[in-house]
Subunit: 328 residues, 4 copies
């Protein structure tokens, strides 16, 4: 065992100070492949963890929760079918003659007789025109009904979990724009809550991610927080235009369309809010890549002026609309 | 492609500084229609988002959760009826003679026979005096029982979600008042928790919203936080009178009944708390418009002095009571 | 309409400054009745809100959630009995002869026949030896099975809500003590988590509540936060002794047994933590009144020294033990 | 009653100041037994609370929630079996002749007949080939079906609770390492989320725990927070290497392998995050003891370079890999 001692000649590491100032969202500096985006427009990350252990991979609850509804019902139906097949084979092994009420001679007829008895047992319908006779079949059917009750308990839980899961339906404008803002310019996008559930206490973080060339010539991914004119609101009943004013301290100051393309610039948007039906937190992510930024535009109003009632109306479909406007 | 570069002649934008100081609750500055309120007294927003996509509009879980109980049961009953009709028509298509136990001749009789068999299958009662015979009907009834089990799983989840949903029952005084407070005056309202569930860690935000005329003659809606003498309490077993002291720094300083009416003044109240049965967060909103403010009054005590027991009693119904009192 | 204007002669209200410094937990200053405590030892408040509206009072979900288990099952059983009685009376009204399988002549016999048929329908057992015949009875029984399925959905939800409700099992020492602490004295109590579920991120607030006589001779209840040597810990696997060091700035400095009795002193303890099974927040409240404070003592160790294994053992039952010790 | 008065000669307690600076995670200073660890590698605490009251010990919901799946199903099956035995004995007491449909003569035959009838009643299958006759047996079976419905409600709740429980699947590197870091050295470990559910808003606290010898020769356990180069990230799609830079202010500065062994050094890791399926909080704990620290190494890259697709791939199994590297 060599005797190590934790001392260094360096007293005040300048590199450490720099490193601590560096912002990292969790993607690290090495994602320098400039052909893909970090966050997809559906909010998922453009990264995959491979070689995970079997049990971690098979996170049934998670998988069945995030599945689309048609697939979910298909999976439930398939499991129902397979479990019934399994039990009907067991009943046939013991002997279908112990299922009083089945007058079947052919094997297929016997199978389907056992299959439907199994289905009636699993769902606890139990009509009784077919009924178990004898110890073995009675025992098996009493186990099957237990399996059924527990299985549908799981299905119920899953259905409820899927239904009550907090998924915000936030619509982001298709493009972010560089627009004149007050007496300077601003980088802007807007968003609206499409769901009938109100969102409250909405907070938005926007980060800029781009590749930079270090002193040693290496390409490294850097992240910068973008200061927003207003980054949180209490209520979110209408649309909300988020503005990053381009002042001299902005990391975008002096940028051009070419420099943004060259540095693979991506704007990462992270929204946190509370939905008001169950007061659960909801998160949404979005990203704008340099190709999705429009230079010199302003967003068109979304108010629906056609009606003259007291209530304020906002037209959700106008969220993407903008018109050209010369920058300051 | 025109080469844009993000630079401006303006070095320090005064307008930006001003804009950043402006408070916005999320309603924006353009709601200058002075004939309606921003927040209704039931806490909903006086705004509507139209033209939402079909799937966002049809947020079944949300809709069935916020429906009133009678309507909810009506919807469940209707769905039950319709699904039974659907399946009984299918049974009739295959042939009611495969439902052993139905001695029906007329079409209506056959329909009702199939209907009640369907109901017994869907709810998994399955008496069995009517029972499926043959592959087609057996298969259909085994599918129906699966539909029933899953459907009632959804219904169960909805019922539980409705029941356990955190809805505070906070009663606000019908009027806010301008009352003498210490050696100055205060704007006050009071509230009490009507529910048997205790609320703890209660925080209250009050904002003032009013129309102001800008330098360019345009009307713009402005928001001001109102500083409260005390904006949070740990426990909320009794009533709580919230006081905004009218000092020289208050946005209300110098206001008159006429100026408040002219500027369409509205006080927006936002309450956040924790309910103690499940320690879930609860939110409540309320608003007082200028017509609901009483000038020169004080709230009457709510203690129930009739009893001489050790326990403190507060009479919830007295929450609205006040008596005239000259302002300082 | 008299024209009010919100101005006062007072420019800087000294009274306001004082009032803003006053601490209030939510009980207010008027609870000057010195014969009762503010917080009972089971954590409930010693206050009652009367005259609440019927629907707020009848908060069924809350009531059935906080009921003791025996009472809860009794309520469920009674509802089951009453609903069955109701439906069996309806069946009798239509005519028991439509319930094929019942060979009953006496009214009582008919009633019980209908009653058990109803029970089999409500729970969806549906043996079928008694089965509905005819439109009216079939319709009624199909409604009853719907009622049953929904009713047991509610019961399931309630049972789950009761089970999963976050209730900490924190055991507080029966007495708080004044003990020598370092080179001064301290007010101390200790607590331990009795549940097998670990608590983490535990925060404790202690406030002193006492009656004080104002300049005008009125008695007023005042609240003081007590500074703790340590008010939060990350983990809580062992017992935790909370210490308020009695320095010159403590509101207890100079207090005597007589002054504490005279001022009806009560120590209010508020514990917030996270339980680790479901990572839900849990709250606990406790209070020590002046009679429950021991002067000159120290808590006895709780480690179980009898065993010499590697694992640390703490004897929960020793939480209340202390031994006399002279104060500094 | 001796008159105590809370005053001390000590005006400014230096000991108090020191004590307030001391960090305590909740384990206290007395755990000086240097043969065991504080936190086990599965995250549990190496401590046990004994002598808890019966009801606190018997926290059924907690126990059935944290049980492994095979044991959970075994427990459910056993309860099912025992409850059926209990009811079948009651049916036999009343008389099996009241269960129409059982043609049994031997006692064992009668028992199994009653047993399977009970199972059909409890799960509400209710085939009906065996059916209750007479008041006593009908009443008992209607009670049993109620018990069944409520019992399976509890089971459903438990199954859902187990499924939806937030358990992070974070894989920690088997060893922590002392590695060269910038121009100094660092203590490092790394971790990755193995679950398909994304974790966001991840915060990590690392504390150092070691035994120190006080001035009076007593051994006392001390805790130090370790400053991390970066202690939180917004997103966690890839692996994350946590670094404590060993500067002159680090409690590790000057430490050697021998001093770490002698002082029973343990690094306590506490991870808090939000899982994104249900936006629930998740916690993970881990600990590295001095034997698990490697001196002079660096972690090997985890990127899977074999593929050239746009998506970033990280190989989870490489989390433990490191290679030797001389310290600065």
């Amino acid at each position: 065992m060599t005797t190590h001692r934790l001392t260094t000649k360096v007293k005040n590491s300048k590199l450490l100070e720099k490193e601590e100032e560096r912002r990292d969202l969790g993607f690290g500096t090495r994602l320098t492949n400039d052909s893909g985006r970090l966050i997809n427009t559906d909010g998922t990350f453009n990264a995959r963890r491979i070689n995970v252990s079997f049990w971690a991979w098979l996170d049934i609850f998670h998988r069945l929760t995030v599945l689309s509804w048609p697939r979910f019902f298909l999976v439930v139906f398939l499991i129902y079918f397979v479990v019934n097949c399994f039990f009907s084979l067991l009943y046939m092994l013991i002997g279908v003659e112990h299922l009083q009420g089945i007058q079947a001679t052919g094997t297929m007829e016997q199978f389907w007789g056992a299959f439907f008895f199994s289905a009636q047992t699993l769902t606890t319908v139990g009509y009784g025109h077919v009924a178990p006779v004898g110890l073995m079949v009675s025992a098996l059917s009493s186990i099957e009904s237990l399996v059924g009750v527990l299985g549908f308990a799981i299905a119920s839980g899953l259905v409820y979990g899927r239904f009550s899961r907090p998924i915000p339906k936030i619509l982001f404008s298709r493009n972010a724009i560089f627009a004149p803002y007050l007496d300077i310019n601003g980088w802007m996008f807007r968003m609206i809550n499409e769901s009938p559930t109100e969102l409250v206490d909405v907070r938005v973080d926007v980060s800029l991610s781009r590749l930079e060339t270090l002193a040693n010539g290496q390409r490294s991914r850097r992240y910068y927080p973008l200061k927003l004119e207003r980054s949180q609101v209490n209520f979110f009943p209408l649309s909300w235009t988020l503005v990053h004013p381009i002042t001299e301290t902005s990391p975008l100051y002096g940028a051009t369309e070419e420099s943004m393309a060259e540095s693979d610039t991506e704007f990462l948007v992270y929204v946190r809010a509370i939905e008001e039906t169950f007061l659960q937190p909801v998160h949404a992510r979005y990203s704008f890549r340099y190709e999705e930024i429009v230079w010199g535009a302003k967003f068109s109003p979304m108010f629906d002026s056609g009606k003259t009632e007291e209530i304020v109306r906002v037209d959700v479909q106008k969220i993407h609309d903008f018109e050209p406007k010369t920058l300051n």
